[in-house]
Symmetry: C2
Subunit: 211 residues, 2 copies
Amino acid sequence: MAKKIDRALVADTALRLLNEVGLEGLTLRAIAKELDVKAPALYWHFKDKKALLDEMATVMLRRMNADLGELPARWQDAIATAMRGLRAHLLRYRDGAKVYSGTHFTDMSYADPMERHLRTLTGDGFTPAGAARAWFTASSYTIGYVIEEQAMGPDPVKGGEGYDLAARAERLAAYPLAVAAGEEMFRDHDRGFEEGLAAVIAGIGVTLRGS
Amino acid sequence: MAKKIDRALVADTALRLLNEVGLEGLTLRAIAKELDVKAPALYWHFKDKKALLDEMATVMLRRMNADLGELPARWQDAIATAMRGLRAHLLRYRDGAKVYSGTHFTDMSYADPMERHLRTLTGDGFTPAGAARAWFTASSYTIGYVIEEQAMGPDPVKGGEGYDLAARAERLAAYPLAVAAGEEMFRDHDRGFEEGLAAVIAGIGVTLRGS
DNA sequence: CTTGACAACTTAACAACGTTAAGGAGACTC
DNA sequence: GAGTCTCCTTAACGTTGTTAAGTTGTCAAG
């Protein structure tokens, strides 16, 4: 009841609430109520709502890095593991990718894991610039993928009704490839992500390594 | 003064205004004022604000497809041209990528160009599913890239002061690769996009073609 | 002409939002 | 025991998306 409130607790509570109400429903008053506090109290800990969202993204990143453990030795596995972890953590929260993307982090906890990942790449034939480019390219793919994934609604293959593919097929009867593409894109996001990720990593090896 | 207002005019005006005020400043009252009309009038043409944003994204897509012309014959060039066009149109508007991503289109004008692009791929050794995966992978990369690009602010190489790289380098003195990565990522977005795109396309050729 | 209907707006108002100003309770210091 | 600092409350402001109800213009039917 009379718990001590600090930045970490606010951000954690906000992330929990995010899963229940989504980004639209994530108001300062709702977060405050969850903390048994009135809305203006949050302004003691954060200068405005954007600062709170930045902190939430930073907490997501910290948790992701905490899950990291030993890095794989092969650079392909290092990138693949990191991107799977990134996607998994973005998917843990409703609209997680939207919250994460385009915020900038409130501390430097990202630097150490990033340095280790980049060192794996440079130790394997990448120039520093090439490693950075590889990292940014894979991250862009992952974030873009998850944004679309979360915007599409629940994965139909996992039970939930995400999108009416039959109706879509009827509207697009004149465009058979577009129909097939829809069925490819709306089904089984896990497999789809892996296929795209494999392509991105393979391409990084071909065009970015050693340049 | 007494122009006829319809959905297309509203969406076009909103897109123009977007460049002046950004997504945060894009209120219904501001859009209405631009049209010499009061805010509730917009509800005659759109059921709510989200429907207007969907229409804006659709207009962006239509303009993109209008710029399309003859498709390149090689599948690599088809994807590269399409993704450069996508990025260029997302960049035409402030927060363009955020508006575009995660909205769903209000008509079927996307189907015909998509079908033609996919046909280029299937005519070049891709299965329908492989072509769809290739398309979605490249689009995810492009959208993710532009979201980060627009969130980072203006390209420092083009004059504007986007981000203080010197201060960043000082904070991260213990992490030399992360410093180098920052300089790679914050400079010259055009070249960075091309390098990542080349990697993605190369990887698509290796892992997705003929499967 | 008048009537009536429909389309395209206006005026007025609502609840909810982010945010600020001012103040109060409780603990810690000198 | 007075003063200061931290952390929160109460009250309020201006804006936002949105709804309800009424007004104007247009046009066809009788």
